[in-house]
């Protein structure tokens, strides 16, 4: 009974993943796409967490945790790319350089 509940819920998450996908493909601006990718990653984490309960192996929540970490790092990289057009220099250094530049 509980398994069915989780299965239906995970299908619901799948549908919302498909909706995010349509926003990602349709665009129109880059910010829509970044937000869609981030939200899609979150929904993948949600789906995996629920799927672990569907197949009754809750230890799979670890994988969902790893996905959350990867999603976070990818979003940071994308936003850094937008802001500074470079991935080479550390964020703290860039902020510092900008602050010094603004003072002058």
């Amino acid at each position: 009974m509980m398994t069915w509940f989780y299965l239906i819920a995970s299908v619901g998450v799948l549908i919302s993943m498909a909706l995010m996908l349509s926003r990602l493909i349709a665009g129109p601006t880059l910010y829509d796409r970044t937000l869609a990718v981030n939200s899609f990653g979150t929904k993948t984490v949600l789906f995996l967490t629920m799927f672990c309960f569907v197949i009754d192996r809750p230890d799979g929540v670890d994988i969902a945790l790893l996905y959350a970490l990867i999603n976070f790092i990818a979003t940071i990289a994308i936003l850094k790319f937008f802001r500074y057009r470079s991935l080479e220099i550390a964020l703290a250094q860039m902020a510092l350089r900008k602050a010094v530049g603004d003072d002058q």
Partner: protein, 193 residues
């Protein structure tokens, strides 16, 4: 129908949609995002297929590292792809159709999904499954095979990958003074002027 098949169909449908979008969209940034989503989707699908180890690798390499690497590569190229001419597309189309036909031709020879007498389940695999828990004391058999039974093999692979990484760093200039730091160095100079 097995209820889990709904999930399989949904994932394959989304993978197909993403693949078509990657081919059709010209904005390279959207394509980079879509490849990341493709990896994430296939990793989630691998979990549904009970291949958790493959899913781990796919998520870490495909969705994590390669998205960042592709963004870095995009810095050095244009933001938009030129749509290819129709005449240039005919050759690749035939190559793709031929490869697909070959794969479908080979498909009946594959053992059925989860089959008990597939090569993975019959010869040495069963031996590993029996002996791992008493010999290596590890709950995950794949880890035991990679890190213990084939430990020297894994060590060799690691040495090869490390050597390749060091060679690439030497070629590019690890200090950032060489060609690798070209883009930001140029921009810095422009800002100074």
């Amino acid at each position: 129908m097995d209820p889990l098949q709904i999930l399989d169909i949904a994932f394959l449908g989304m993978l197909l949609a993403v693949a078509f979008a990657i081919v059709r969209i010209n904005s390279l940034f959207a394509v980079v995002m879509l490849t990341g989503v493709y990896s994430l989707l296939s990793a989630a699908w691998f979990v549904v297929l009970d291949a958790v180890d493959v899913a781990f690798t796919e998520a870490a390499v495909g969705a994590g590292i390669s998205t960042v690497l592709m963004l870095g590569a995009m810095l050095l190229t244009a933001r938009e792809a030129k749509p290819p001419k129709f005449r240039q597309q005919i050759g690749p189309l035939f190559a793709a159709i031929a490869t697909g036909a070959l794969l479908f031709y080979a498909l009946p020879d594959m053992p059925a999904y989860g089959s008990a007498d597939s090569p993975a389940n019959s010869y040495v695999g069963a031996e590993y499954l029996e002996r791992t828990s008493e010999e290596i004391h590890m709950p995950n058999v794949v880890t035991a095979v990679l890190a213990s039974y084939r430990g020297y093999d894994t060590l060799g692979e690691t040495v090869v990958i490390f050597t390749a990484g060091v060679a690439v760093l030497l070629l590019l200039g690890a200090s950032g003074a060489g060609a690798g730091g070209g883009v930001s160095a140029t921009r810095k100079r422009e800002e100074d002027e």
